[in-house]
């Protein structure tokens, strides 16, 4: 009797796992099935032409480059904040320090703040500073979103680092600042993983850039100009009543999905290759 129950539940569990796997394949299948017919080289090499939103020629280069600019800027800003922060709580503060615990806790909470709230806050901030929707505004909002992601994943690998290296460096007479320069080299794979994770989260998020970065058919040439982004481009194309524009929206969705999948698999590959004690 007890074996029967176990067997039944085992079947249910495997079914559950298969359902989730099936859903992933279903999502990818839907996107590729709908988008592949309209995906061509023009999509990624051309700016939207004059009649783009009526179904005429053009591509979404504006959105690809815009997203790229936004994510580069925000990765840079969040590196500037998260790297010193992680180094500080791991190597300047005591292991049981309440202060470090408080910082980690607030990062966990910041991680949970919805992206639309960052968007709204970023927008309020920009209104206060008298800025218009621009590349810079988008960068600031996305930085807020990805900073906790980056900080948490970098913190996870830093905690695992052995204490011997820092102790050896300190006993050789290095200052803490010099010690950290050496440790960062050691942490390179972890740092790259966290950058990839943060990029994946930031590049796909529409709610933060909706208010802050605006939208344009051109490639921004200065930080004060509005910038397009891939998720918003998809969203706007889908909202069009013209069928061809919608189809190109599906094709743009393939572009975004492929970018995100590559980022996700790359970060898993790097983190599994360079860490010893993971499965």
């Amino acid at each position: 009797m007890k074996y029967l129950e176990e067997r039944i539940f085992k079947i249910i569990m495997i079914t559950a796992a298969l359902i989730v796997l099936g859903v992933l394949l279903f999502i990818l299948g839907t996107i590729f099935y709908k988008g592949l017919p309209s995906l061509n080289f023009d999509m990624i090499t051309k700016l939207p032409g004059g009649g783009f939103y009526l179904g005429k020629e053009g591509g979404v280069l504006n959105a690809i480059v815009g997203s790229f600019y936004i994510i580069m800027g925000s990765v840079f800003i969040s590196l500037l904040i998260s790297v010193p922060l992680v180094m500080f709580i791991n190597f300047y503060l005591n292991k049981k320090s309440k202060f470090a615990e408080l910082i980690r806790f607030s990062m966990d909470i910041l991680f949970g703040v919805p992206s639309i709230v960052y968007g709204a806050f970023g927008f309020a901030l920009m209104v206060y500073l008298g800025m218009k929707a621009s590349l810079l505004g988008g960068i600031i909002a996305v930085s807020m979103l990805i900073m906790p992601v980056m900080m948490r994943s970098l913190d996870e690998v830093t905690i695992l680092l052995s204490r011997e290296l820092p102790d050896a460096l300190l006993s050789l007479g290095a200052t803490r600042y010099e010690m950290i320069k050496v440790i960062l080299r050691q942490l390179m794979p972890g740092l790259i993983t966290s950058i990839l994770l943060a990029t994946g989260r930031g590049i796909g998020d529409a709610a933060t850039v909706l208010f802050t970065a605006g939208y344009t058919d051109n490639i921004p040439v200065s930080p004060s100009q509005p910038a397009a982004s891939l998720p918003l481009s998809i969203f706007f194309q889908l909202g069009s009543p013209v069928e061809e524009v919608q189809n190109r929206g599906y094709a743009s969705a393939i572009i975004l999905t492929v970018i995100v999948l590559i980022l996700s698999l790359a970060s898993r590959y790097i983190s599994s290759r360079y860490s010893k004690n993971k499965i």
């Binding site: 999502i27 709908k34 910082i103 919805p114 709230v117 200052t175 698999l265 499965i279």
Partner: protein
């Protein structure tokens, strides 16, 4: 030479302390600035009317948030109802039954699911779930449904929170000391009995905490839900009615809100409300999870 090194070191330290203090204060900064932006509408209407009125006529100055709050709740609850059983089953499977190869295969699957951007989920929802509901599911229960419904939002959201639930729960099960499960197995219990009586019971509070965390994630999800839930500012009467969650309200109206000060303040109130709810949920579940982690470190 020695002095320069010392100065550099000191400078780096001050810089780091500054960033650390900023990081902690940042939550308060966000909270207060949203609050001050929302203050005009709170002053004018009083909090209770805002929360309990269901009349949403921004052009007349009526801001009742009840439809949006209820929509958010309904959509999130459906999502949890679907996602929680699936995630618990899969986590148990991954923890106790799956071979190494299966685990290796399944981890990237969870990764990919959590990496897919909200817009793509929304697109999938509109292409696959919405037609499914309007053509297959809804006709069995109601006369007519567009498919852009509470149920569609809930299903899409469920898929989005499953990766979060699985990763926390696998972590939870792993933190249970092997002595406990071994003791149960040694007493002659089957694997399944051990799971029921030891693993699930020991991690019950953790599962609740994970659920609360996933719920808060569901509350804040914007784009995907916005694309499939219809966006009609009325209290949904059934799962096959359209709804209009708080994040979608903010995202849809950003263009017009600058033209009317009362409207802007009302939308900022929505953001503030969302912020507070999510923060509270997050804090409760994070503290619970931390305590569980600590409990097992010393046993």
């Amino acid at each position: 030479m020695r002095k320069v090194r010392k100065i550099k070191d000191r400078f780096a330290r001050y810089f780091m302390v500054g960033i650390a203090v900023f990081a902690i204060l940042f939550l308060l900064i966000i909270g207060f600035s949203l609050f001050f932006k929302a203050l005009p509408v709170i002053r004018e209407k009083n909090l209770w009317t805002l929360l309990s009125s269901s009349s949403w006529k921004p052009f007349k100055g009526d801001f009742g948030f009840l439809p949006f709050i209820l929509s958010t709740l309904y959509v999130s609850l459906i999502a949890i109802l679907i996602a929680l059983p699936l995630s618990v089953l899969i986590s148990i499977f991954l923890h106790s039954y799956a071979s190494k190869g299966v685990k290796r295969f399944f981890e990237p699957v969870v990764d990919l699911l959590s990496g897919i951007p909200p817009v793509i989920y929304g697109l999938w929802g509109t292409l696959a779930i919405v037609p499914l509901i309007s053509e297959k599911i809804a006709p069995r229960f109601v006369d007519f449904s567009t498919g852009y419904t509470v149920l569609a939002g809930g299903i899409v959201l469920a898929v989005m929170i499953i990766p979060l639930l699985i990763s926390i729960m696998v972590e939870l099960f792993r933190s249970i000391p092997a002595e406990m499960t071994d003791a149960s197995l040694a007493l002659g219990a089957t694997k399944w009995q051990t799971i029921k009586k030891v693993i699930l019971r020991r991690s019950f509070s953790g599962i609740i905490a994970a659920t609360v965390l996933a719920l808060s994630r569901a509350f804040g999800e914007t784009m995907a839900v916005l694309m499939v839930c219809g966006n009609i500012p009325e209290i949904p009467g059934s799962f096959f009615d359209a709804c209009y969650p708080l994040p979608a309200l903010i995202a849809n109206n950003y263009g017009e809100m600058l033209s009317m000060p009362g409207y802007e303040s009302a939308l900022m109130f929505a953001a503030f409300l969302l912020f507070i709810i999510v923060i509270v949920f997050n804090m409760v579940s994070r503290i619970t999870l931390k305590q569980i982690e600590k409990r097992y470190q010393f046993t």
